[in-house]
């Protein structure tokens, strides 16, 4: 198939950037989206042009590094699929595809389609952990966890930290990411001692990092490659309300 690609090109953080059009022939429907970009980059390199910079690593949908907004949708048209697992068979011959980076103040563009997502690490630093220094642990069976809680905690913990939720949110909010961690740790008995401080500190870090506020639009969950549900945000809000109450 042949494609018309319009790709965001930006030399570095200071550059203004613009959409640049490329034509690409002989794209196989079996290629992944990133392999299609590999082919473009091989050609650009040989033509003496600067290849398109984009983040990627595991290419199997789990590291959370890939981060392209494809035709306006983070990770593209397939539900619950990261960009690296999206294949060209979902596009048609002759199609125009727009490719842009995540857009958020908290995720400044580094180059082309690469953004800086360290704001997420900052949120985790604020409290997205259980303080359990190495060697201090009791036996693993000391605190049984009801299966339903363990399963729900796992579901929330599958978040890959890609940032698609922020990219999709009209408010540029990172609430789904924050809420997924709050939910994961808050459902486990080991997470209880720090539960109140965790939610307050993480929310503070979230706001501090320049993310927008949540208005429950649900755009985040609809693009989440791991299907983290909106109810995690409700959980976060409940924890926050209780934590404020406990603090006062």
């Amino acid at each position: 198939m042949s494609l018309k690609l319009r790709i965001w090109r930006q030399a570095d953080a200071r550059d203004k950037g613009s959409m640049v059009t490329y034509q690409l022939q002989n794209v196989s429907p079996d290629m992944s989206f990133l392999e299609m970009l590999d082919v473009l980059n091989e050609r650009l390199t040989l033509d003496g042009e600067d290849p398109v910079a984009f983040d990627h690593d595991c290419r199997e949908g789990i590291c959370g590094m890939c981060s392209l907004v494809i035709n306006g949708v983070p990770h593209g048209p397939e539900k619950a699929t990261t960009t690296c697992q999206l294949h060209m068979r979902h596009f048609s011959d002759g199609e125009t595809i727009d490719i842009e980076p995540w857009r958020a103040a908290a995720f400044p563009v580094v180059k082309d389609l690469v953004v800086d997502r360290r704001a997420f690490d900052k949120i985790i630093q604020a409290g997205g952990f259980i303080s359990a220094p190495t060697g201090s642990a009791p036996d693993a069976h000391a605190a049984p966890v009801p299966k339903a809680d363990a399963d729900a905690a796992f579901e929330a913990a599958t978040c890959i930290g890609c940032g698609a939720c922020v990219a999709a949110c009209p408010n540029g909010s990172g609430m789904l990411f924050t809420a997924a961690k709050i939910t994961h740790l808050g459902l486990l008995p080991q997470g209880q001692p720090e539960r109140d401080t965790r939610v307050i500190d993480m929310l503070h870090a979230h706001d501090e990092a320049g993310f927008g506020g949540c208005t429950n639009t649900g755009e985040c969950t609809s693009v989440c490659p791991k299907g983290i549900p909106l109810e995690t945000i409700s959980r976060l809000n409940k924890d926050y309300r209780k934590a404020l109450h406990a603090a006062s």
């Binding site: 570095d12 196989s28 079996d30 290629m31 992944s32 990133l34 392999e35 299609m36 590999d38 091989e42 390199t45 040989l46 042009e49 600067d50 290849p51 910079a53 690593d57 595991c58 290419r59 199997e60 949908g61 789990i62 590291c63 959370g64 590094m65 699929t81 697992q85 294949h87 068979r89 580094v110 180059k111 690469v114 997502r117 360290r118 997420f120 690490d121 985790i124 630093q125 997205g128 952990f129 259980i130 359990a132 190495t134 060697g135 693993a140 049984p144 966890v145 009801p146 299966k147 363990a150 905690a153 796992f154 913990a157 599958t158 890959i160 930290g161 994961h184 486990l188 080991q190 997470g191």
Partner: protein, 644 residues
């Protein structure tokens, strides 16, 4: 043969105490010097890599009070490739009361490694395995649980006991996030400083001690020298030398290889694990291979057509024209034979011209019988997410047509040589996780990589590094130091060289070609003639690389082509050493199968008389020097593996 390498002095690992194996670790810890808490603050450690080993080590060293500097090439420590591990983590908890014990895990691991690992190390690993589970649960790792609220386990990779703890098919992700969160806690506490999007490009050795690294900031292109009292490499394996592997695209050998060039011995580089159940290559554009969990073989039946070149769709091939070759050749284990055996059997049938799919490089993994027996819903409940992933990638529905699978490079057992303390042959340079060679011998068992990474990072290194650091802090360094300046200049010169060639071939085109050579001659089956051919082809290609590679852009700022070029340049040198190691080891063991060394019915034939040693290679710039570390087995006696 000897023109490829020369023989040096044997190496001995003297750090493990003698005597009863059960108490060696305890006695080593007691024998090690301690650093008093006030002094820890004055001691600094560099940790390269933030996977299970590096992340857990940096966090734990930070908790102990050392000043830790952590580096990773990804945009966040959470992205290290440990995250992609699916199956689970072994631990000798014996929660099932099914006869498991530390000794049995030790025994299984030594045997699974085809008697090419150190007993002391493996025993320690088995002992520590139980603490790992406790630690991870305390951190909030959401392991699978039973209705009673206790941890669930499953048997994995042919083990006869149920000792594998898991979190759906995402165990690696959950364990890594546990380590990552512990690391972020230390970053917030100020004990660890994190340098993401930084790549180590050289090791700094001053007065014979590893004292720092030269790194490139991948965003600004700035080259800096970083100093510490000790350096820990946790930079993972080198499977990407094959270009196509299940590794992440960024996985590379550069950190290890730079240390090797500076004097660290590289052990058993030819030991490569090839995983039998991956999605086959679909075309020349392929950039990586995706693993399908081994658990699929519990219910799927592996087959190919009996006739060569049969291009009918699977549904049109009648039952009596199918060859369920694993069930035929290995009636006792059938489809559940270990990874190396399943992989080689797939290669053999494809070599016979009976492979299926594009290029004839694939075999069927058929769930029709399981769906018939258990019903579609039951199969979906067990494997639904894997089936979905397969469909996403191939566009085929595995419920109605058999999956196609083919082996792919998955893990490298070889790595930098380390002693019992996990210290390399360079004082002050420690190597942990997949980057070292220590615990898996010639073949790694399923669910053991996660165990080893976390054992090294949480429990072994933090205990052993103190023995070394007790002699510190070492003299302060700066860029004026001649050895530091030289290391920095090496990096700058190499980058300049790569950028100045301005040839007519891309980095990837070289990497692909190197991968093809390695897969062909140093893959699932190796021969004397093939390896010699590979070495000469690698040398030619390497020379061509340095003449014709085209690296666009400059060194200022983000330049992903430049990053890849440096990594591929190191892969060339590693590839040659892998082939030399494979050539010199004229036996088959674990992941290393030499066609000349097989039993009458085609199974791997070890040669304990001649090869019961670790091959530790010294870099010379010319023919490498082989140092042997003899392996002794006091507790588990070598035997021939049989799965018939």
């Amino acid at each position: 043969m000897t023109d490829y390498y020369s023989l040096g002095d044997p190496v001995a690992d003297t750090k493990a105490p003698d005597g009863p194996i059960e108490t060696r670790w305890e006695r080593r810890r007691f024998g090690a010097k301690l650093v008093n808490p006030a002094n820890k603050r004055k001691l600094s450690v560099i940790v390269v890599g933030t996977g299970l080993a590096g992340g857990s080590a940096a966090a734990t060293l930070g908790e102990l009070g050392y000043q830790v500097k952590s580096y990773c090439y990804q945009d966040s420590p959470r992205r290290a490739h440990s995250i992609a591990a699916q199956g689970g983590i072994n631990a000798a908890k014996n929660y099932r009361n099914d006869g498991d014990s530390v000794h049995r895990l030790f025994y299984d691991t030594v045997k699974g490694g085809d008697f090419r690992s150190r007993e002391s190390n493996v025993h320690r690993l088995a002992q520590i395995s139980v603490q790992i589970i406790d630690q991870c649960v305390a951190q909030g790792v959401p392991f699978a649980r039973e209705y009673g609220g206790l941890l669930d386990t499953r048997s994995f990779g042919g083990a006869q006991v149920s000792r594998t703890f898991y979190a759906r098919g995402q165990t690696g992700q959950q364990l890594l996030l546990g380590a990552y969160q512990a690391l972020e806690r230390q970053i917030a506490a100020g004990t660890v400083t994190m340098h993401d999007r930084h790549e180590m490009l050289e090791l700094i050795i001053v007065d014979g001690r590893a004292r720092g690294i030269v790194v490139r900031d991948l965003v600004t292109g700035e080259i800096t020298t970083e100093f510490a009292d000790a350096v820990v490499l946790a930079s993972g394996g080198y499977g990407n030398v094959f270009f196509l592997s299940t590794n992440a695209k960024g996985c590379n050998v550069t950190a290890s290889w730079r240390a090797h060039r500076k004097g660290a011995l590289f052990a058993n580089p030819c030991y490569t694990q090839i995983h039998p159940t991956c999605i086959p290559v679909s075309g020349d554009h392929q950039s990586k291979l995706t693993l399908m969990s081994e658990s699929l073989r519990n219910d799927g039946r592996v087959w190919v057509p009996k006739a060569k070149g049969d291009t009918r769709i699977p549904a049109d091939i009648p039952e009596d024209e199918r060859d369920y070759y694993l069930e035929r050749i290995y009636p006792a284990f059938g489809n559940l034979v270990p990874r190396d055996i399943a992989s080689r059997a797939a290669k053999n049938v494809c070599d016979e011209g009976r492979g299926v799919g594009p290029g004839g490089l694939g075999v069927y993994l058929d769930f029709a019988a399981a769906i018939g027996r258990l019903g579609r819903d039951a199969v979906e409940a067990k494997y639904g997410n894997l089936f979905d992933m397969y469909q996403r990638i191939t566009g085929e529905d595995p419920y109605t047509t058999p999956m196609r699978i083919y082996p792919a490079v998955h893990y490298t057992m070889g790595g930098l040589w380390v002693d019992y303390d996990l210290q390399s042959s360079i004082p002050g340079l420690f190597v942990i996780g997949e980057a070292n060679f220590s615990d898996h011998g010639a073949n790694r068992l399923g669910a053991s990589a996660l165990m080893q990474g976390l054992a090294d990072g949480y429990f072994v290194l933090p205990n052993t590094i103190g023995d070394y650091l007790a002699a510190g802090p070492f003299p302060k360094l700066d860029g004026e130091n001649a050895e530091v300046a030289a290391a920095r200049k090496q990096v700058e010169d190499r980058i300049e060289k790569l950028l100045s060639i301005d040839g007519d071939r891309t980095v990837d085109s070289f990497h692909r070609e190197l991968g093809r050579i390695m897969w062909e001659y140093c893959g699932m089956e190796r021969t004397d003639a093939g390896l010699r051919k590979a070495i000469s082809e690698i040398r030619e290609l390497k020379a061509e690389f340095w003449q014709r590679v085209k690296v666009p852009g400059d060194g200022e700022g983000l330049n992903q082509s430049l990053e890849r070029a440096g990594r591929v340049a190191d892969f060339f040198e590693l590839a040659e050493l892998m082939c030399i190691d494979a050539l010199h080891r004229e036996e088959s063991c674990g992941g290393h199968f030499r066609a000349e060394s097989q039993t009458e019915d085609g199974e791997a034939q070890r040669d304990d008389e001649r090869y019961s040693y670790v091959a530790a290679w010294e870099f010379t710039g010319d023919a490498p020097v082989l140092h042997k570390e003899d392996l002794t087995f006091e507790y588990v006696h070598p035997s021939q593996r049989s799965y018939k």
